[in-house]
Amino acid sequence: MTETSDLSPRQQRLRRVSTSEVGMHTLPEAVPPAGSDDEARYGMAGDARGQLATVARRFIHSPMAVIGLCIFFGLAVAAILTEMFWTYSYTSITNTLNAPPSLAHPMGTNSIGGDVFAQAMHGTLQDIEIALVVAVLATFIGATVGAIAGFYRGGTDTALMRFVDLILVIPVLAILIVLAHIVAKQASNWLWLAIIIGAVSWTYVARLVRADFLSLRERDFVEASRALGASNRRIIVRHMLPNALGPIIVNATITVALSIVLESTLSYIGLGIQPPNVSLGLLVDQGQDSATTEWWLFVFPVVILVVLILSIFFIGDGLREALDPKKNRVRA
């Protein structure tokens, strides 16, 4: 094959291609006139309001999530209204002892004449308060610790995760008993209780977020944003956390359920909510002895508890779906 003389056409083609069309493209004037429709159109995707609206729209399109939200708020509103307008308060003691449900006492009364309806509603409110504090606290601490451990790895990771292990190997109940004993006598002890439960239940979130971050940190988009000059902090908060949001939210809803269970356990051994204050867990524990005889003492709090926890699960599931852009099959 004679190379040299044959190559002339290729040569010319090469020359032509390698002179790129410098100067052919100019940056279009794309800054929209202020206050025009364009501004709203361009601005939408970027600003938080637009993102939030999109998430809200997707959330509304999930029937289970909407049902969950309605039940949750329904229960909360009912509890608040009962507190304000119901004939009896959760501390009231009437002359009617151990009465089955009637018009005067829709959920009956207990052995000392307390109105179960008022108590259950107050307990619902109390549980919602505790659960929200625990969920926020545990998720915040857990996500922070997990994110830092997973992102920096090495010594930081080891130190933080061994600390998590330490909390995990000591029985939760033991920690709770020691801590709860100290604060059991405090005024407004439900808040302290919530903080204590939060302080021991963040470990699961931390492990989950760490595992997620270990895989996320190897993804190209993390490297790409570093190549754009983003700081570690920005990469963690703006780029990686949103990608770990699904498991975090699901875990937050599980934490809510778990905190209610823990709270009732503590109440059962007398270190949780102190009478005359009530919680649903306390009511269930008090009622379970008489579940076969005075069934209303047991059944109503249990049903409310189950419905409450389920509604939170539904909300969490809906949120996770709504926050995941790939799940979006709804076009506005």
Binding site: M1, T2, E3, T4, S5, D6, L7, S8, P9, R10, Q11, Q12, L14, V17, S18, S20, E21, V22, G23, M24, H25, T26, L27, P28, A30, V31, P32, D38, E39, R41, Y42, G43, M44, A45, G46, D47, R219, D220, F221, E223, A224, S225, R226, A227, L228, G229, A230, S231, N232, R238, H239, P242, N243, L245, L323, D324, P325, K326, N328
Partner: protein, 367 residues
């Protein structure tokens, strides 16, 4: 060269691993002139990507980097993260190989471009978003005003890579590093993405360091080519010098393994026998020697350094040989260097003729 945008000098990158020290890059030097496109070719594991990542300061912690990298006259090797962050994106921007994973799946592409703009420019959200639309139009995304609100998974691979290019050019960087920008795309889309890349270069007046193993991409885009083998540059020259006067057997082999539009009849592609050497531990002699048809004793003894190539025919001095008028004769040797003990001889061989056909070829192709 003092007016170069970026220079890399005797860059050495070692990784300490459980199996010993992996010598990924064993001394590479090059400079990038303003608006120049330098292509780096080489097979997997030859140190191309590591070189690019080293210039961005993005290597893993177990890497030891020595040598010198200067950008705009300033040494950037060994800078603190904080100072590097000021250069990344606005001085040197990077385009990654796989557009499927280099965009954040939970944000709209508009958000991501706007973020890049706001990272280095003092503009408000609306302005940044308007810039994002302009950039998307520039890289050839139809309906850019609407598409800024879409998420990466709603784009095709080629479109995503164009979004990545838009992000890279958002801050008018002086240097763009493209690490195999078209490797993850199918051939028809590659051409469109390369067009977008050319647009980006014209718009930003940036220099481009184009890393690829696709010689076609190099031919279409690069001004100069650096061929890497086993962590070292083995040949540097202009596109014409590399494609028509390759002076290193490895470059010959690469060209011989490419199908050519101008080849006559049923030519079989010629392969380079063997496999690249292990990068763990010391090497003696030319790393390509075990695969090289021109191997001589000296090749096993001494690793050749980059030296100027003299490719002019021995018997017909200067010009005026048989094939008069051919553009090929105008290729001079200015700036052409190769690391081969027999560089001159290799350069005088017809391109791609060096490696033998396999015996199966002779039987199979007979008409």
């Amino acid at each position: 060269m003092t007016d170069a945008t970026m220079t890399v000098d005797h860059l050495v990158v070692d990784f300490s691993t459980g199996d010993g020290t992996v010598r990924a890059v064993r001394g590479i030097s090059f400079s990038l002139a303003p608006q120049e496109v330098l292509g780096i070719v080489g097979e997997s594991g030859s140190g191309k990507s590591v070189t690019a990542l080293a210039t961005m300061g993005l290597l893993a912690k177990n890497a030891t980097v020595t040598g010198s990298i200067t950008y705009a006259g300033r040494e950037i090797l060994g800078l603190k993260e904080k100072q590097l962050a000021k250069i990344r994106g606005i001085g040197i921007a990077m385009i990654f190989q796989d557009p499927m994973t280099s965009l954040n799946p939970v944000y709209t592409v508009g958000w991501q471009i706007a973020e890049a703009v706001q990272a280095h420019q003092d503009v408000d959200k609306n302005e940044a978003m308007a810039k994002a639309v302009a950039l998307l139009q520039l890289v050839g995304i139809p309906n850019a005003e609407r598409r800024v609100q879409d998420y990466p998974h709603e784009f095709s691979g080629g479109m995503r890579q164009r979004v990545v290019i838009a992000i890279a050019m958002a801050n008018n960087p002086a240097v763009i590093l493209a690490d195999e920008p078209t490797t993850a795309l199918d051939v028809t889309v590659q051409a469109q993405v390369l067009d977008s890349l050319k647009t980006a270069l014209a718009e930003t007046k940036a220099s481009l360091l184009l890393i690829t193993h696709d010689l076609g991409v190099i031919a279409g885009l690069a001004d100069r080519v650096l061929v890497m083998y086993a962590g070292r540059p083995v040949e540097i020259g202009t596109v014409d010098q590399i494609f028509y006067r390759p002076a290193m057997p490895y470059t010959h082999g690469l060209l011989g393994s490419l199908p050519r539009l101008d080849s006559q009849g049923a030519e079989r592609l010629r392969q380079i026998p063997g496999a690249p050497p292990s990068m763990v531990g010391e090497m003696k002699g030319c790393p390509f020697a075990p695969r090289c048809p021109m191997r001589a004793d000296i090749c096993d003894e001494q690793e050749p350094n980059l030296a100027p190539v003299d490719s002019q025919p021995l018997d017909s001095p200067a010009d005026g040989s048989g094939s008069a008028g051919s553009a090929l004769d105008e290729i001079d040797d200015a700036g052409h260097v190769a690391a081969c003990h027999f560089a001159g001889d290799v350069a005088r061989l017809p391109v791609a003729s060096m490696f033998p056909d396999t015996s199966a070829d002779h039987e199979g192709v007979a008409p």
